[in-house]
């Protein structure tokens, strides 16, 4: 078991290191980093100062270690666009994104799993097909289209703008969570179906265990185990989705910040956000792996 933990942690650390290094290399080789990190109308001497400060006259490996050192110290640079420290911008917007993301995740989990379970129990019937239809629909729907439709409906029917910083989180969360809801529904259905047909379910039936209890005590826990992986995977989809959704609803979160910074070539911000996303996902995957130790006794044996 310790071997499992150690190897997973090592793998996560290695992945993070490679990602950071790749980001470094790209920035370093994409033109003049100093010019990129400094306001466009800065005089040549300021740029030269930056070059010295960033150590661009140093050998590559020294720059690399300097870069890593800077990251570890928490020195993330300044936004060219606003002149403010990058982490400030980030922290300002993080709460909005968290609220949006968690609400979306909640909605998609609750509705997705309920739909999937219903479809599994009523397999082959009209209900099943409707649910599967909904999940394909949710999967194929571009979130920006859905968001715009919601906004349009809101404006025409309710005469209110559904976006903006003080708007309801529900509408953007619904938009963001739609695709994930589709995958959860589909997944819950197939996982439960597989579990329902497992040999130990028949054996439990042969022992006189009633249907409801079999589903709750045996099928559900077993079907839920792979769900943990799926939630981990859907984190990536949620992050990707929030980039677009926040734009559509003018929701002042991190995704909107990323898009704006890309448009204005605010490299310091973009770099920081990319690293944050990577670190978050690597950490989330690691947590999922370790969570398996708790929920699946078969993993503990390894």
């Amino acid at each position: 078991m310790t071997g499992y933990i150690l190897s997973r942690v090592a793998r996560a650390a290695l992945t993070l290191l490679i990602t950071v290094s790749l980001v470094f290399l790209f920035i370093r080789f994409s033109g003049d980093p100093a010019a990129a990190l400094v306001p466009p109308d800065a005089p040549e001497e300021v740029i030269e100062q930056y070059r010295k400060a960033m150590g661009l006259d140093q050998p590559l490996w020294k720059q690399y270690t300097g870069y890593i050192g800077g990251l570890l110290r928490g020195d993330f640079g300044y936004s060219v666009h606003t002149g403010r420290p990058v982490e400030d911008l980030f922290l300002e917007r993080l709460p909005y994104t968290l609220r949006l993301g968690l609400t979306a995740l909640g909605i998609s989990l609750i509705f997705g799993i309920s739909l999937g379970v219903t479809a599994a129990i009523r397999r082959g019937t009209l209900v099943d097909r409707i649910v599967m239809g909904i999940s394909v629909f949710a999967f194929a729907m571009p979130n920006f289209l859905f968001g715009l439709v919601l906004i349009l409906t809101g404006a025409l029917v309710f005469k209110v703008f559904l976006g903006g910083a003080d708007g309801w989180v529900l509408m953007p969360a619904l938009t963001l969570g739609l695709a994930a809801m589709g995958s959860f529904a589909r997944f819950a259905r197939s996982s439960l179906l597989e579990t329902i047909n497992a040999p130990y379910m028949r054996a439990a039936e042969a022992r006189g265990v009633p249907f409801a209890r079999r589903i709750l005590r045996h099928a559900a826990p077993n079907a839920a185990i792979p769900l943990v992986t799926l939630i981990g995977l859907s984190l990536g989809a949620l992050i990707a989705g929030s980039v677009v959704t926040e734009q559509v609803f003018a929701w002042p979160g991190v995704g909107q910040l990323l898009v704006r910074s890309v448009a204005t070539r605010d490299i310091a911000v973009v770099q920081f956000l990319v690293l944050v996303v990577a670190a978050t996902m690597i950490l989330a995957n690691l947590i999922v792996d370790l969570l398996y130790l708790v929920i699946d006794p078969r993993i503990r044996a390894r």
Binding site: I18, F26, A240, M281
Partner: protein, 283 residues
């Protein structure tokens, strides 16, 4: 391919939802290829007098945008670009990812470790974030954009094909053919590859609609296909500010994108069900 020929009779069993999807895809492709004949205007032709006309206007079937350009003409060109980017992009990802996965499964050792590490890195960064990062630093050329969209999902192909190769190697017939004296090339080309290609094909059908959605999303954000070129997402981004007043500029391209992704998904699901069954019955 033995699998598909065995299901020839299954074509008659296609549920109506899948049939409609096939028809829609055909229509979409036809629209992209020949839609230009439906309108006398070019997609870049502006007209200051005919701005923001709604659909159903006498000379412009689907209306015009803020610069007086015929929406129908723009949709045709947009559909072309979206299709090209989606198909080429998905193919790039499929081929590169599958090759890497097969090599990782076949060679093992250090080569495998490097590929697996690359897959891990990609898996921890949603492709849209990678795309945004690279687009921030490099000029947005069409080629770059195409490559980025192509990267969508390569790591899934790699993982799948690596797993498939590893398990194929353990199959009885691979061991038996090895014992017959077959060279590794023969084993892989004749026996392993044909039997795992199905898996890549299935993933392709899952991946294609996602690529469509990625391209249109990036274009919608203004970071994808750049003017003067246009794509369905790009049209939507231009029309976005006039959502209330000129809804047709966003909803019509949006509907096209949605139905395209939906149709491909439904066809893909159906194919997957059929292939899965034949795969299972052969094992």
């Amino acid at each position: 391919m033995t699998n598909l020929s065995a299901s020839k009779s299954g074509l008659a069993e296609m549920p109506w939802s899948v049939r409609i999807s096939v028809v829609f895809v055909f229509l979409f492709v036809a629209f992209a290829l020949f839609g230009g004949w439906l309108t006398p205007y070019g997609f870049r032709e502006t007209s200051m007098f005919d701005r923001l006309l709604p659909p159903g206007s006498p000379e412009y079937i689907l209306g015009t945008d803020a610069r007086g350009r015929d929406l129908l003409a723009r949709l045709v060109t947009g559909a072309q670009i979206t299709l090209v980017v989606a198909i080429v992009g998905t193919l790039i990802g499929a081929i590169i990812g599958s090759l890497l996965g097969i090599i990782a499964g076949a060679r093992r050792g250090a080569t495998e470790a490097v590929i697996v590490a690359a897959v891990d890195v990609q898996a921890s960064l949603p492709i849209i974030v990678v795309a945004l990062f690279l687009l921030a630093m490099f000029d947005n050329s069409f080629t770059l954009f195409l490559l980025l969209v192509g990267l969508n999902g390569w790591e899934i192909y790699a993982r799948l094909m690596r797993g498939a190769t590893l398990s194929a190697k353990e199959h009885g017939y691979v061991i038996a053919v090895r014992a017959l004296g077959a060279s590794p090339a023969r084993i892989y080309l004749r026996h392993v590859l044909p039997n795992i290609l199905n898996i890549a094909l299935v993933q392709f059908t899952v991946n294609l609609p996602l690529t469509v959605l990625l391209e249109t999303a990036l274009s919608f954000l203004g970071l994808g296909v750049q003017p003067p070129l246009t794509s369905l997402g790009q049209i939507m981004s231009e029309g976005r500010d006039r959502l209330m007043t000129a809804w047709w500029l966003t909803l019509l391209p949006g509907a096209l994108i949605f139905f395209l992704a939906l149709s491909i998904s439904m066809i893909g699901d159906w194919l997957r069900d059929r292939l899965d069954i034949t795969l299972r019955s052969e094992s």
